[in-house]
Structure formats: C-alpha cells, structure tokens
Point group: C2
Amino acid sequence: MSDTSNERSSGRITMVDLARLAGVSVPTVSRALRNLDSVLPETRTRIHALAAEHGFVANAAAQALRGRAARKTAIVFDFQSSGPGSTSPDAFIFELLGDVAHALTIRDFEVTLCPRENSVERYERQLTEIGASGAIFLGQGGQHEMLQALAARFPIIVWGAVLPEALYCAVGSDNFKGGQLVGEELKGRKRTSILLLGNPQTEQVRLRFEGFRASYGVGQHRMIETLPVGFSYEEAYRAVLNRIKDTPKRLDGIFAATDTLAMAAIRAVREIDLVVPDDVAVVGYNDIPQSQAFDPPLTTIREDDRRAGSLLVEKLMQIRDGVRASSVRLDVTLVRRAT
Amino acid sequence: MSDTSNERSSGRITMVDLARLAGVSVPTVSRALRNLDSVLPETRTRIHALAAEHGFVANAAAQALRGRAARKTAIVFDFQSSGPGSTSPDAFIFELLGDVAHALTIRDFEVTLCPRENSVERYERQLTEIGASGAIFLGQGGQHEMLQALAARFPIIVWGAVLPEALYCAVGSDNFKGGQLVGEELKGRKRTSILLLGNPQTEQVRLRFEGFRASYGVGQHRMIETLPVGFSYEEAYRAVLNRIKDTPKRLDGIFAATDTLAMAAIRAVREIDLVVPDDVAVVGYNDIPQSQAFDPPLTTIREDDRRAGSLLVEKLMQIRDGVRASSVRLDVTLVRRAT
DNA sequence: GTGAAAGCGCTAACAT
DNA sequence: ATGTTAGCGCTTTCAC
C-alpha cells in the first residue's frame, strides 16, 4: 500500500508529514517549531531535528491566513520610468535602495518593489494585495498630498523632503540648509548670475532652491533663473546647452539639484568652450561616489552620514509597533572640490 | 443588533461581506470577480460594482493557499555588500534591476529582493518560503556550481556569463567577444603591456579576459598581467595606484572589467601624471550612462541592446510554463571614444 | 504536555 | 446560473 498523505512529488513537506514522522499531532509540531514552552524539550528537539532533516519550510501563505503579522515591506520608487532614454531614477536612489533592502533583510523582512501609482486608492490596493505591513517611499515624487492621505491608512515612511506640515514620517537630508550652503558658496565666490537646474515640483528640489534663494539673496547684482528638468542626464545636458548657446546672456554659476545634473551641466558648459569653474561655477547635490572621481571633481552637498537606509527602516518599525516616529533631517555639509 | 460578520474595524472586506451585500453565495462572488462566464452578466456587473465601491481586495494568502500559481519573482543580487566603503554592486546592475522590475510589474508579477546565500539549500529554503515561482539572478557571483544544482529544483534565470556547460538558462553579453574586441583594439593601438583589471573569479570577468587573451595574443612583445579587484571604485583606484607607482614597470594599456573600474584606473593613472590615452590606453565594459559623460569619454564595450531586462523576464516565463529556454549571448560592439 | 476541533479567505468539485 | 460542501496548511481555542 502506498504512503498515506506524505511528501508529494512536489517535494514540499507539511506539518502533517512531520507530525506523522514524529508520532505527534500537528499542533504539537507547530508549537515545537515556534519554541513554545508548552512542549516537552525532548519532543521539541526531535521535531526540530526532523524538520531540518526533511527541509521543512512553513507555508507562509497559511501562516498569513491564520493572522500572523506580515513581515513584509514594500519599497516604492520610480523604476517604471527607467526605460531607454527616459527619466531614470538618480543613481543616488539605487544606492539607497540597496541600503534599505539590506537593513530590512537582516531584520528578516521580505522586500517587495512597487511602482509608483497615481492615487491613494491604488496605493492602498496594491499594498494590501501583496500583504505588506508597511511601505518605504524613495522620494515623494511630487505626491505629497497623496502621501498625507495614505499615511492615515497605512504605515509609511518617506525618504525625501521633510515638510513642516507633513502627517507622515519623513527622513531626508536638510535640503533647505543644503541650498543655503550652496547660496553662501556662490555668493562668496562672487557669482552674480545663477542657474538653478532641476524641477522644483519635486519637493526636495524645491526646498534646495528655496534655501539657496534665502542665503544667496537677489538684488541688482544678483540674478537667479530656473531651468526645470527631470533627473535625466541627457535631458539636462540638452536643456543647459540650449540655454547657454541660444541666449549668450552671461551665466557664472549653476546649482544643480543632483550630481548627475551637475555633470550634465558641466559637459554642456564645456561644449561651448567655457571653463569650469572660472567662467561658470557648478555645485551639485548628494555626493554620489562618482562625484569625487569625476573630472573635475564635483563640489557638492553631502549628507551627514550614510545611515539613511537603516534609519528609514528603524522608523518604519516604530510605526509598525504603533509608536509615533518623528521626521529626521540629516545634517549636510558642503564638499568643496574643483567646480 | 450589530452586523453579523461584516467589515471589521480593520477595514478589509472579504468575499463573505460582498456575498451578503450582493445577496449571493461566496463562490458566486469568486466567479464573478474572476470573470468566469458561468455567471449571469448582470450579477457579475453588480458584484464588480460592489467590490469597487467597497474597495475589496482579494486576500492573496488565501488564494495562494488554495493553490493559485504564484505570480512572484525573486531577484537575487548582492545588495548586502553595499555597506559603506565595501564592494557595492556595479551601477550597471542597478540599471538592470530597474528594467527587470519594470518588466515583471507590467506582467503583474510581484518582485521580491533576495540577498545572496551560500548554499543551494538556503536558496531553496528562502525562495520557497516567500513563495516565489521563479528567480532571476543578477550576476553569477561566482556561484556557478550552486546555480547548476539549484536550476534542477527551481525555475531560475541568470544574468551573467553564458557558460557552455550550464544547465541553467543564462542571458548576458557576449563576454568573450567583448574581450576579443578589446584585445584587437589595444593590439591595433600598438600597446605592449596590458593590465587586466578585475577579478576573474567572477564568471563574466573571466570570459572577458579570456577573450582578450585570445585575440591579443602574448609574445615577446606583448605582456599581460592581472590585478584582481572587486567592483568597488575605491579598491580599484588604490590597487592600480599601488601597482603603477610601486613598480614603475611600463604599462601602456588597461582593460577594466567594468566602466566603473576603468574610471578608477584613469584617476590613478593621472595621479602619477601619465596621460590617457597617450601613455596608457584604458577600455572599460558595459557602457553605462556616465561613461559617455566622463572626462575623458570612455572607450568601452556596449551590448547590442538594452532589452536585457525584458529578455530575462521572458525567459523566466518560458521556464515557468515548462518550456525549455535557451541561453542568449547579446552581441557587443566596441565604442571608441577618448581613452 | 498534548490532542481534537474549529476556522482564517478563498476556490474546485459536485450538486441543482 | 447559482448554491453546497470540502479543504488548502497552519494556529488557536479548549479539552483532557
């Protein structure tokens, strides 16, 4: 006669199998595996041994159905747009993604990637559908209002601008101060006509530019103009080139919203035989690894530390546990290099 | 009296609730929602409307438990190591990650990030635990043998080296040919002492170097040496600097396993006042976006196309459907720029 | 300390 | 075209 209900050809063992092998009931197996002390130590050891031997893996779906709190976090960012030539996410975001994923993994959380949606409902649907117990947004992506609403209904943490009125917990560099530092720098270097490169619809960029304006000031001897571009190198390169070759109105400083954009600007500037930094000073933001290696090494804003990833995760855990989590602005410094 | 079994405070609606609201049985709701044509069109419409109205989201755990084939793919790569200063993954991998995630998302697959493990058992455990129906490895990561074994037990696709003896489906650039192209190039440019920069333990790197040796040849007038470094910019920079300043033995060409390493090499070379490419020619691999922007623009190897991401996903779908999927070597070309 | 019974939310098989 | 019944694999009562 064949075996009663054991390991199917699929190879996956269930608790029923283990129970029979151990000569105990299923609940006992369950208890033993979870180390509940209502199980005789000897029994427990035996069951653990059998489980290991047969490569038993608990069925996560069944556990979830039974109500075990999910250990699963969604990471939301804009990978959708990283098609050929489009506005791919900044390299900085990928670095951060790696850090966050790592921090979650060592806490034994599952990490799921979710694309940006365009409504609170869709976010909520998406997140509950996959059974995530929380979400980390990498950048507001201009969805501040949506995030406000979503935060009331789902545990989220946002990397990005720390806005005073935000109802959600945000972690990000002190964008305003970063902008201020750049303002002081360019003012100190006697620059009188500045181009702000980046799209202020992005909350972080807006704050950076506001900080800049605040410290740089505008008067008869100081002008500021904005060139709103996305985060794509190509787009920025073309936009800057257009700007400076079409209207030869003098421009002696550029504050780019990211290092990538700064690199694009430098290329454009050199294209028309202007010298960086003598003719045009350029300052970026983020201090991504390439910035130091870039030729010329980029002057840029660096965050206080690289613990952003684990900080985001810690905050999310707090919220998950019902604790209020406060937003954090990471301190920034200006790294003066060659541009 | 209070409502019988409806929407709990948690806010999540189940099919039971929907069924009562619609005045039908639960299976009917299930059928209607899945658009089985055994349901009266009118009923179906009504149920869909109710579902939408109440924001019903099917419980994925229950569905999975009931045996619905999982639509979930794990992406395995080395984000663990992206801690401060360590061997972070190459920028190229992140690009690819974005593409793959996108391709999976539009197919309505969930995307889960998994760290590298160090045994077949752990991989299998990890993957079945999260209930993935397949996995995409971003780079062999020196685990060719492990992948051989794993492939027999789980649907996987590997981005990386296409090895003749591989039992798994691999998609990758034609590393050997890429190396050959570099060999021809440096030979044509009369370079006589070449440094291969990169760790040949990585399968792709090994193939690139083998290709190089094959076309460059070694004789009394041509020497090759290898400097095995990881994928970290800093590490490569220091290693190259050490190599060229400690032993001033002439070196007039460098073939770097990635563009990032090439950039590091260039920085080191310039550090000791050698000129690129006059004194030392440098060729990279991958043609990442920054390579064009780099100063000097990098000579490098580019893959035939950027559809690698969707190709990986297509192949995985084939295997999932029980179809054999053949490996693919993407054609490569040498992009000659300034180095 | 352990077992028997019930049920999480859904779908497949069988009725009708 | 719809309802009834059963059960996925696990955990949580409640007995003993």
